[in-house]
């Protein structure tokens, strides 16, 4: 199974959409709240070059924002 990491903020709707998508498809994910966790924020910026959430890391492939089709293709589902 793919390792999924999502960098999110509590107020971000697109993060919720992505997490719901994982749950609906029975996929486990690791979540880092970049509003509270400074280290995770730096890690996210370094990995993605982005100052926006969600950033999703699927086995090292970085996806920015919530796009169901893009997630499906990255996860082969």
């Amino acid at each position: 199974m793919a390792k999924i990491i999502i960098y999110s903020t509590p107020t971000c709707v697109y993060c919720k959409m992505a997490k719901d998508f994982f749950t609906k498809n029975n996929l486990a994910y690791e979540e880092h709240d970049v509003a509270a966790d400074m280290k995770a924020r730096e890690e996210m910026v370094q990995k993605s070059g982005q100052l926006g959430v969600p950033v999703i890391d699927i086995d090292g492939k970085i996806i920015v924002g919530f796009d169901e089709d893009e997630l499906r293709s990255a996860l082969n589902i």
């Binding site: 107020t11 959409m17 070059g49 100052l51 920015v64 924002g65």
Partner: protein, 312 residues
């Protein structure tokens, strides 16, 4: 051929879908997602029958209500790319390559966020340029940011940034801020906020991330601000590019409709909600107007075809 293809999944499109399904009209809905512009709202308190609901929960309520209907084809996620006139109706071509034939069309595509259209904006999108302040404000903890736009959305973006940013410039092209008085006073009272009026942003600067912004002041002098975030909140424009060639729009790009029936300038196409020239852009109004459109479409279908086949 469908009797009706609804384009757009906001409150208008969903309301239309529910009504069309219950009228047993052979119908499809094409939508990127559900909920429309209010999906990202933190708290909706004026959706009738619901005291308080987050935009996201609300969008799920809409989607579930729509999907509970039998006999409507839900084509999602997908977007209409072009509507063409064909014999006896229209052809809707979608971004994912679907072609749907329809006797009638209802446009409920709402509006999209306006961009600044200045150098650096596209380049630094997600690298300091922000279009969802609610989502991304916490990332600018301890940083200097600018909010462009002094309407309600701009003022709310300032409130989103207040707990985090070290300084917030609020830029607007008008001579005074336009948003709600209560929010305005709250913002003016904060020592973190500096309001700069009669300005026009001209360029967003940066290397890997945003490092500054150039703007023209009231006298036409170009000045520069050092900052790391630019929150763009300058309003929206109607999503009508896919159908613009067929029907009349006004100076704001909104589809001109007959406000009694929601019919557009071209027989066979109706429109409702923020994509239309409706005076008030409201979720409840979009839903009501889209229902009005479906009822008028039903009348039209019944009149034009006495032996219409009903879907099962």
């Amino acid at each position: 051929m469908y009797d009706l293809v609804i384009i757009g999944g906001g409150p208008g499109g969903v309301a239309a879908g529910v009504y069309a399904a219950r009228k047993k009209i052979k119908c499809a809905i094409v939508a990127g997602d559900f909920g429309g512009a209010s999906k990202v709202s933190g708290d909706i308190q004026n959706w009738i029958g619901t005291q308080s609901v987050s935009g996201y929960e609300w969008s799920k309520m809409l989607e579930e209500h729509l999907r509970a209907q039998k006999g409507i084809d839900v084509i999602q996620p997908d977007l209409a790319e072009k509507v063409e006139k064909i014999d006896g109706g229209f052809l809707v071509k979608t971004k994912k390559g679907k072609s749907l034939e329809a006797k009638t069309i209802l446009v409920t595509t709402g509006s999209a966020r306006k961009k600044l259209n200045i150098p650096g904006e596209k380049e630094f999108d997600g690298k300091g340029v922000v279009y969802c302040s609610t989502c991304d404000a916490p990332i600018f903890d301890g940083k200097v940011v600018a909010v462009v736009g002094g309407g309600n959305a701009g003022l709310e973006a300032v409130l989103d940034a207040l707990p985090y940013a070290s300084k917030i410039y609020l830029l607007d092209h008008n001579e005074e801020l336009k948003g709600d008085a209560v929010t305005r006073e709250k913002i003016k009272a904060s020592p973190k906020v500096e309001i700069i009026l009669k300005t026009e942003p001209v360029e967003i600067l940066g290397d890997k991330f945003v490092t500054g912004m150039k703007y023209k002041d009231g006298e036409g002098v170009v000045k520069e601000l050092k900052l790391e975030g630019v929150f763009v909140e300058i309003g929206s424009y109607p999503n009508v590019a896919f159908v613009k060639d067929l029907i009349k729009t006004n100076e704001f790009g909104e589809i001109i409709i007959d406000h009694k029936t929601q019919a557009t300038s071209l027989p066979g196409i109706w429109a409702a909600g923020d994509a239309s020239d409706v005076l008030y852009k409201q979720n409840n109004i979009s839903a009501g107007d889209a229902i009005k459109a479906v009822l008028n479409i039903t009348d039209h279908l019944n009149k034009t075809e006495s032996h219409r086949e009903y879907s099962k």
